[in-house]
């Protein structure tokens, strides 16, 4: 059974701050990775806080995430340092982190995951526009449902807003105003919560209904996006139209939390086009669009990470050409993941499908 605690302060962010500060001041962890505003921008960026006194700017509940912090989380937990870390992450970030653990990019040894029950994030510009009006975006977002409709397209179809694998789950759904509910997800989390000495609480009665309603809304949206996208890319020609303005900037792959390669193969010598090769290609088809290999890039990236795609939507957010990359990736990823009965981030022990093979043919696989 989970242990519950509730912190109520004068604002949501204060409530979170109280809990996280105690983690540091009681020496339960050595540092906390959490989204925080900097003096330079209202957009919260992943920040490693080592001193209780430096908690001021944290803002993990603000509906913005210029970054999927799994990459940053993996950077700070690349190897065991003997120090204990708390990572405050959104569900999609946790799922990506689990994938990165499987890929040996980081370790969960001595790491405490504090998962946020996530109502979504806004595109950076949208957030900044709202933030110009509302000082406390975290609070405003909780109560103002019209703001909740301004989350990204991908967030709107996200059904996995409840964190998995979190030692402690931090949520506001169904909680009283200005209160944050903490629930233990693991034994580690339970021990921590007890040590923190936060006021204990019951699971709020209404939370299940709220969750279910939200889930239904998201599922419907997802179904719609998948159907629409699938139709939009069901021929290579339509797909060409969709990515016609791709610059080969690789922002999508840079933003992708599970695209873990130190250097993308498309940046290596393998795809360095020689002039005579470009000319030959142009001669063959009459003309060749530059930069080349954009289609190849997206399809290859799909073949590399479709099984691990956690649907965070960052690829769409960062595309300068406004290509709905995330629509494409989530649509294909869902099919690939179903084919392998694989769910990214489900279980650290679940192997990446391509690295496992069966002696016997399973039904559903190709002849």
């Amino acid at each position: 059974m989970s242990v519950y605690a509730m912190v109520k302060e004068k604002s949501l962010t204060e409530a979170v701050k109280t809990a996280l500060t105690r983690l540091l001041s009681q020496d339960l962890v050595d540092a906390v990775l959490v989204a925080a505003k900097s003096p330079y921008s209202a957009l919260p960026m992943p920040t490693l806080v080592a001193e209780a006194s430096a908690m001021d700017g944290i803002d993990p509940l603000a509906p913005a995430a210029p970054f999927n912090a799994a990459r940053q989380a993996a950077t700070v937990s690349r190897q065991a340092t003997g120090k204990r870390l708390a990572l405050v992450l959104r569900p999609c970030e946790i799922r990506a982190l689990i994938e990165l653990v499987k890929l040996n990019q980081c370790t969960l040894e001595n790491v405490v995951i504090i998962g946020i029950e996530c109502l979504g994030r806004m595109e950076n510009e949208v957030f900044l526009n709202h933030a110009a009006v509302h000082a406390d975006m975290a609070a405003e977002f909780q109560k103002n449902t019209s703001l909740q409709d301004d989350i990204t397209r991908t967030c709107k179809m996200c059904e996995q807003f409840t964190p998995t694998h979190a030692d402690i789950v931090m949520s506001t759904l169904g909680a009283p105003e200005n209160a944050v509910l903490f629930a233990s997800g693991t034994e580690t989390g339970e021990a921590l919560l007890k040590e923190l000495g936060l006021p204990t609480a019951e699971n709020p009665a209404g939370s299940e209904t709220v969750t279910r309603q939200l889930l239904e809304k998201r599922a419907a949206c997802k179904k719609e996006v998948f159907a629409e996208t699938s139709e939009k890319i069901n021929s290579i020609e339509k797909f060409e139209q969709m990515i016609a303005t791709c610059l080969n900037c690789y922002n999508c792959r840079q933003a992708c939390p599970v695209c873990y390669c130190r250097e993308c193969v498309f940046l290596t010598d393998v795809f360095a086009a020689r002039p005579e090769a470009l000319l030959r290609r142009a001669q063959k088809r009459g003309a060749v669009k530059l930069p080349t290999d954009t289609t190849m890039f997206h399809l290859t990236r799909l073949s590399h990470i479709a099984h691990s795609c956690v649907g965070c939507g960052q690829c769409s957010s960062v595309c300068p050409s406004n290509i709905p990359v995330a629509d494409i990736f989530t649509t294909v990823a869902a099919q690939v993941q179903a084919r392998y009965d694989y769910v990214p981030g489900r279980d650290v022990g679940e192997p990446i499908p391509y690295l496992m093979f069966e002696e016997k043919q399973k039904s559903g696989e190709s002849k």
Binding site: R78, L103, Y260, C261, R262, V265, E276
Partner: protein
């Protein structure tokens, strides 16, 4: 080596006499290729593989400054080596060469001359596109350890050990049972000469024990095998014998005194008992008993006993013995793990296990053996001599429900049984067979001899063995039911005893050995040889050879011959002293490697290790076989197989689709 700034490619189109030329317009191909980027020269010639053909390449490399060569002719499996040598002779790295197969893949299989020519152009252009990206590769030489590991101490392993040791090499022979000897030690006579098995076997066992070049590990198992051809590192687990081999004199007092006397004897196929401290048979080598921990009162039941220790004059009993691990270095490994007999219980219509007088062939071997449970008297469980015996062939063999193959030895040993039965008991012997298979030296003669001795041969696979009787006079007998296919009659034959000539199947544990060594097994579980005809004792793993039944059912002459063959291969390898590693192996670019270990997980040969300091994967070049699983698993193409790089393969694909 010349600097390779600008690729200058020479392309040679072979006519292959009349094999390529008329179907493929070779001149047109040459004209077409000549126009491609970086092609310095394109020629066609009658026979490129001939000396003048090769000289033409060498001459052009030197005179025209070629630094890449393409030959379009037959399959690279035919002449790639030839042309690489020619390129090398001219001073170029041999890997600056690519072959286009326009004979097997074009002229021989394409009817239309036009289509053939177009396809040839495409294949040659692809070779040109690919060779552009070729890189110089090197091979390495590694020294070979002068020792051989033999796994299995049956007749195959013993013979392989003796032959190898006689050549002057150190041999480690590992046997999991307490004694060497294997199945052959259980036999009384051997077909077709009826040699006494013990008479020819025992001296060999002693030879193995006393050979200065052979280190014998009995009651031991191979635990781990690492390394590669010439440099295998083997860990052998010596199971605790609870008897100190250095102190034991083999006097046998402990066995006489042991109070636990009712342990089923494995060696006698369950037909008699042994003690808890035992040697499997009197001539065991080494003649040192082991204590069966499961049945020993001290070890298994925690009781006070220790009678054996009390009576042992040399104080050789040691209840505290623990498993011991020995590490060995071997240049070659010979696998001789043998077979086990098919268990006929599942063929329920034959009533094995149901009717006491139904025996398997191995049981009969023991029944008939002078050292067996009845001291060699062939009698029924009631002590009486059988008057009529049926021998059933193909039990478990040639049967898609069980073992689909012919076990090769059953016809002959069945006839040996028939002969022995006639000789010892005078019983009427009926052989029920599907086909008599006697294809060996003096085998057919043996068949004829047994026929002359009055053995009755009925052509028909037995449908059923039952104790249902039609005539009260047959009370207590079994009835064998079969169609006599030559007379088309249903035979219902009352008999006193039935011998099931069971087939051979891979020995229990061979799967584990296969996994340790990386050997693949066929659908029936036998180890795969490298080539059925031309490399019957080699395996896909360099430096590991097969001897005896582990590769498939065999009789003793074939087993011994094959063991000598395997030993010969091992000796040849050791005598050569050096092995050359292949060039087409994997490399991992440390600058691109993200350290995800996907390659390590996908490597079948454990040839990739992880450098914890740099957090990158590193290929062990000696172990890598070049399969490329790592390359396919690596998303950043940090891992790639030399000579099969992304650039090379994709250039080939691109050119093929031009």
């Amino acid at each position: 080596m010349t600097t390779q700034n600008k690729p200058r490619i020479g392309v040679y189109i072979c006519h292959c006499g009349m094999n390529i030329a008329p179907r493929v317009d070779v001149e047109e191909v040459a004209r077409f290729i000549q126009e491609l980027d970086h092609v310095a020269v394109a020629r066609d010639y009658k026979f490129m593989c001939s000396n003048p053909g090769q000289d033409m390449i060498i001459h052009d490399i030197k005179e025209l400054g070629l630094n890449r060569v393409v030959v379009a002719s037959c399959s690279p499996r035919m002449h790639e080596k030839t042309f690489r040598n020619a390129v090398k002779t001219a001073g170029l790295n041999p890997y600056y060469f690519q072959m286009a197969n326009i004979r097997e893949q074009v002229s021989w299989v394409t009817k239309d001359s036009r289509e053939a020519t177009e396809k040839a152009k495409s294949l040659v252009a692809a070779a040109v596109g690919r060779v552009f990206f070729h890189q110089p590769l090197d091979t390495r030489e590694v020294t070979v350890a002068k020792s051989v590991l033999v796994i299995g101490g049956g007749i195959a392993g013993m013979q392989a050990a003796l032959t190898s040791a006689n050549a002057g090499y150190q041999v480690y022979l590992v046997e999991r049972e307490p004694s060497i000897g294997g199945h052959m030690a259980k036999f009384d006579k051997t077909f077709p000469t009826l040699d006494c098995a013990a008479c020819i076997m025992t001296p060999k066992m002693v030879d193995v024990l006393q050979h200065p070049g052979i280190t014998l590990f009995t009651w031991s198992e191979v635990e781990k095998v690492e390394g590669f051809i010439g440099n295998f590192e083997v860990t052998v687990k010596k199971k605790p014998r609870y008897v100190d081999e250095t102190k034991c004199t083999g006097c046998g007092t402990c066995m006489q005194k042991c109070p636990t006397k009712k342990v089923i004897s494995e060696f006698n196929e369950g037909l008699s008992y042994r003690t808890a401290i035992y040697t499997p048979f009197p001539q065991a080598v080494p003649n040192v008993p082991v204590i069966d921990a499961d049945h020993c009162r001290v070890l298994g039941q925690n009781k006070k006993c220790g009678v054996c220790a009390k009576f042992c004059e040399t104080k050789a009993i040691d209840f505290e013995q623990k498993p011991e691990f020995v590490t060995l270095k071997a240049g070659a490994i010979i696998t001789a793990t043998g077979f086990q007999a098919f268990n006929p219980t599942s063929l329920e219509q034959y009533g094995y296990g149901r009717f006491p007088e139904v025996y398997t062939s191995l049981e009969f071997e023991r029944l008939n053996n002078a050292t067996g449970p009845t001291s060699g008297k062939v009698v029924m469980k009631n002590g009486k001599v059988p008057e009529r015996v049926a021998i059933i062939h193909c039990v478990g063999s040639r049967d898609t429900r069980h073992r689909k193959y012919c076990s090769r030895v059953c016809c002959m040993y069945s006839m040996k049984f028939a002969h022995l039965l006639r000789e010892k008991t005078g019983a009427e012997v009926w052989e029920f067979y599907i086909d008599i298979r006697s294809p060996g030296k003096l085998y057919e003669e043996f068949y004829n001899r047994v026929q002359e001795e009055g053995v009755r041969f009925i052509r028909g696979r037995v449908a059923e063995i039952t104790d249902i009787i039609d005539d009260p006079g047959d009370q207590g007998r079994l009835t064998v039911i079969a169609e006599s296919t030559l007379t088309r009659r249903t035979v219902r034959l009352p008999v006193d005893m039935v011998v099931l000539s069971v087939g051979l199947e891979p020995a229990k544990g061979s799967e584990d050995i296969g996994r340790l060594l990386g050997l693949s097994r066929d659908g029936d579980g036998w180890f795969n040889e490298l080539h059925a005809k031309l490399a019957p004792v080699a395996t896909p793993i360099n430096g590991i050879f097969l001897a005896g039944c582990c590769q498939g059912p065999k009789d003793i002459p074939d087993t011994v011959a094959q063991s000598m063959g395997a030993a010969g291969e091992a000796i040849a390898l050791l005598a050569r002293g050096k092995v050359t590693t292949q060039a087409e192996i994997s490399r991992i670019d440390p600058d691109l490697c993200s350290g995800c270990k996907s390659c390590i997980e996908s490597c079948t040969y454990s040839a990739i290790r992880f450098d914890e300091a740099r957090k990158v994967a590193v290929v062990n070049e000696a172990l890598c076989m070049g399969c490329g699983s790592c390359a396919a698993a690596c998303p950043s193409s940090a891992a790639g197989v030399k000579h099969f790089t992304d650039k090379q393969v994709m250039a080939e694909i691109e050119a093929l689709l031009m």
